[in-house]
């Protein structure tokens, strides 16, 4: 007769390996698993491409060439990376408190709308200097995006409404809200877009300074990059070097302990979602003012959703978000040339799957035992 204990010990002797919880993970290991996950994801993506009848090596070479090939295309990559940086920071801030803000896409649209309202309503006369118009647009964009985070924040804090669903539903509402304006109120000549903003409302680009630095001619990287870098420093300071950050992290890691310690959980829920929305709104503003220069429907290839993956891949570290955004910016830029069009989305999804699967290796170590001989 085989008892249960016999079976277990025999299995251990046969397999001679097991997973054991780790009590410590080094930063090096975290970075290595993230990088490993991306590599595995690219291999899986290549396999899918090959099965679908494509040439994966050529596709990847194409991605690399058309996003890092020379200074010009690298500048274009940065243009795609800027909104990802801001949205990634927005997600990281909320995720750190385990608030699942899936609504960055809607907050991005609202931010773009708020910034456009300054120019198109117009809240400021068309001749106002850029020194006033652009800060006003930033403020309006952050307010509008912040409002779109404030709503689910209040619903979560005071009505116990699941923020995943509310932020997601607000995405659809934001897009319909934008459509209302571009189809009707601000439509130019019946087209589904507003008129082009006057030059005062454009964020300065590198190419605008080509008189001073001739090498910058044609480079479209805009001032939004500076916004993103400053925002990364601010988010890092808040999360790692302030009492707010300490309490936000405590709420994320151990909400019960935070509650006993008297951390005002409701106030933080509202404020964090609002600030997160404001960052995503700033991303919308910088895209509209730095790249598109008008309000229209097609302003985001899913920046709000890619930002979630960026934040997760960067392990919610603000500076890592900047670097990861550049990689994903390259993917989005190159994605426009790859057929079929769903490929970048698919690769993003596979990256996220590999990433969360690899997290297992951070929490457990593989322990290989030498088979124990029965006599020992």
């Amino acid at each position: 007769m085989i008892t249960k204990t016999d079976r277990v010990s025999r299995r251990q002797a046969l397999l001679a390996w097991s997973f054991e919880p780790r009590d410590h993970t080094s930063a090096w290991l975290q970075a290595a698993t993230s990088a490993g996950a991306v590599v595995v994801a690219l291999v899986i993506g290549a396999l899918i491409l090959a099965v679908a009848g494509g040439d994966p090596l050529a596709a990847y070479a194409q991605i690399a060439r058309s996003s890092f090939g020379d200074l010009g295309v690298f500048s274009d990559t940065m243009v795609k990376a800027i909104p990802l940086m801001l949205v990634g920071l927005a997600c990281a801030l909320a995720f750190r408190m385990r608030l699942w803000n899936i609504g960055a896409e809607g907050q991005f649209f609202l931010g773009a709308w708020g910034a456009s309202a300054v120019v198109l309503t117009p809240l400021l006369p068309a001749t106002t200097s850029g020194w006033i118009v652009i800060p006003a647009m930033m403020l309006a964009g952050m307010l509008a995006g912040g409002l779109w985070g404030f709503i689910p924040g209040v619903l979560k804090a005071y009505f116990n409404v699941n923020e995943i669903i509310s932020t997601l539903m607000l995405n659809y509402i934001a897009i319909a809200w934008n459509d209302f304006f571009i189809f009707g109120v601000w439509s130019e000549g019946g087209f589904q877009m507003s008129r082009v903003f006057s030059r005062h409302a454009w964020l300065p680009r590198l190419t605008d300074a080509s008189g001073l630095v001739p090498a910058w001619a044609g480079l479209t990287t805009h001032l939004g990059l500076l916004f993103a870098l400053v925002a990364a420093v601010i988010v890092w300071l808040i999360l790692q070097r302030s009492r707010w950050g300490y309490e936000i992290r405590l709420l994320g890691d151990n909400p019960r302990a935070a509650e006993y310690a008297g951390v005002p959980i409701r106030r933080y829920t509202v404020l964090v979602l609002m600030f997160s929305g404001a960052l995503a709104g700033l991303a919308g503003m910088s895209e509209i003012s730095g790249v598109v220069h008008r309000l229209q429907g097609e302003i985001s290839p899913g920046y709000g959703f890619t930002g979630i993956i960026v934040a997760w891949l960067a392990k919610l570290n603000p500076f890592a978000i900047i670097l990861v955004s550049i990689l994903f910016g390259a993917l989005i830029l190159a994605g426009r040339e790859i057929q079929p069009g769903g490929i970048p989305r698919l690769i993003q999804g596979i990256v996220l799957v590999c990433l969360i699967a690899s997290d297992f290796l951070l929490r457990y170590r593989l322990r290989i035992r030498r088979p124990v001989s029965p006599s020992a």
Binding site: I48, A52, W100, I102, L155, F159, N160, V161, N162, I164, I165, S166, L168, M169, L170, Y172, I173, A176, W177, D179, F180, F183, G184, V185, F305, I308, I309, W312, Q339, P340, G341, G342, I343, P344, R345, L346, I347, Q348, G349, I350, L352, V353, I356, A357, D359, F360, R363
Partner: protein, 322 residues
């Protein structure tokens, strides 16, 4: 634009939400939150339409659509059950993968044209009941009737069978269920799979019956997420889920139908397609989802009803906690 016609079409549209919501109830009752419903529905809709267009057999389409979505659900199952990943993030990843994959594989499918239709029929006797007859039993798709069967079946299974007891135990107190000999891991894989099958069926219902065709992401248009919200509204109860699904289906249908005619009651229709007010109309289902969440969240707090206690938590044999 007869009110009964809107309600009748609303029941058909609601059948989509019904399947997806029942599927998610199964998974969540077992303790697994699966936010990938939207992705699974898209894969189901795309595969079902693709197979039906190629073979001319819509039944085969439905079967494959369900299996594909079921297979996709197992990716989430492995990640959260064995690798103990965060269920929220894994569910999001599933939606990304499902959406991306369906866009890649569905490339060019939108030009495939019509496919063989599923049978549409009336139930003799029942369809002559005043008001209810025309709404529920008159010229509906076979899938709508399948939905009617599934509601009491699911309810009976969850509340009145041994398997249902095990299912609920796995979601409420897995350690206790495990001690009684219930295979928690196997059970969770199984019900996540059932959830995937039903999400696939929901997708197939769109692409083969309710609004036939493949329109990339617009095919589902967020209905997978509404289903996740409906589970909360339904308090994990199939009967309440059915009510919510049909009510929402009717709302969706109403929003679509009222945009059609150029005149309403002799006046020009302010909600006509792409007129200004129509955009506010399109917000309705989403705003309404948030509203019912506010109402049902308050109600569940008041009545102390809530999610299965172990929802979202990985089960590790021998570890402390649930």
């Amino acid at each position: 634009m007869h009110p009964l016609l809107i309600l009748q079409a609303g029941v058909a549209t609601g059948t989509v939400l019904l399947f997806a919501t029942l599927g998610e109830i199964f998974a969540e009752r077992a303790g697994v939150l699966n936010l990938g419903v939207e992705g699974m529905m898209l894969m189901g809709a795309m595969s079902a339409f693709s197979i039906a267009a190629r073979t001319g057999n819509p039944w085969l389409g439905i079967l494959i659509g369900m299996l594909v979505a079921g297979l996709l659900s197992q990716l989430h199952a492995v990640l959260v059950i064995h690798l103990q990943s965060d269920q929220v993030v894994s569910g999001l990843a599933l939606t990304f993968v499902g959406t991306g994959l369906s866009l890649v594989l569905g490339e060019g499918l939108s030009k495939a044209g019509g496919v063989a239709q599923l049978p549409v029929f009336s139930i003799p006797l029942l369809s002559s009941i005043p008001i209810l007859g025309p709404i529920f039993f008159d010229t509906q798709s076979v899938l709508v009737y399948l939905g009617y069967l599934l509601i009491p079946l699911t309810w009976y299974l969850i509340y009145h069978t041994r398997a249902g007891l095990h299912l609920r135990a796995a979601g409420e107190y897995p350690a206790a269920a495990d001690a009684l000999g219930v295979n928690i891991y196997g059970l969770r894989y199984f019900y996540v799979f059932v959830g995937g099958l039903l999400a696939g069926l929901a997708g197939a219902t769109i692409s083969l019956a309710v609004s036939p065709g493949w329109f990339s992401e617009l095919t589902t248009g967020g209905q997978g997420w509404i289903a996740v919200a409906l589970v909360i509204f339904a308090q994990w109860n199939p009967l309440r889920a059915a009510f919510g699904a049909y009510a929402f289906g009717t709302l969706r249908r109403f929003v679509l139908d009222i945009q059609g005619p150029t005149t309403l009651f002799g006046l020009s229709n302010p909600f006509h397609f792409h007129t200004n007010l129509s955009f506010f109309l399109q917000m309705l289902p989403y705003a309404f989802t948030v509203l019912i969440l506010v109402l049902s969240s308050r109600e569940s707090v008041r009545k102390r009803l809530g999610a299965p206690a172990a929802l979202g938590l990985p089960y590790v044999r021998g570890a402390r906690g649930l």
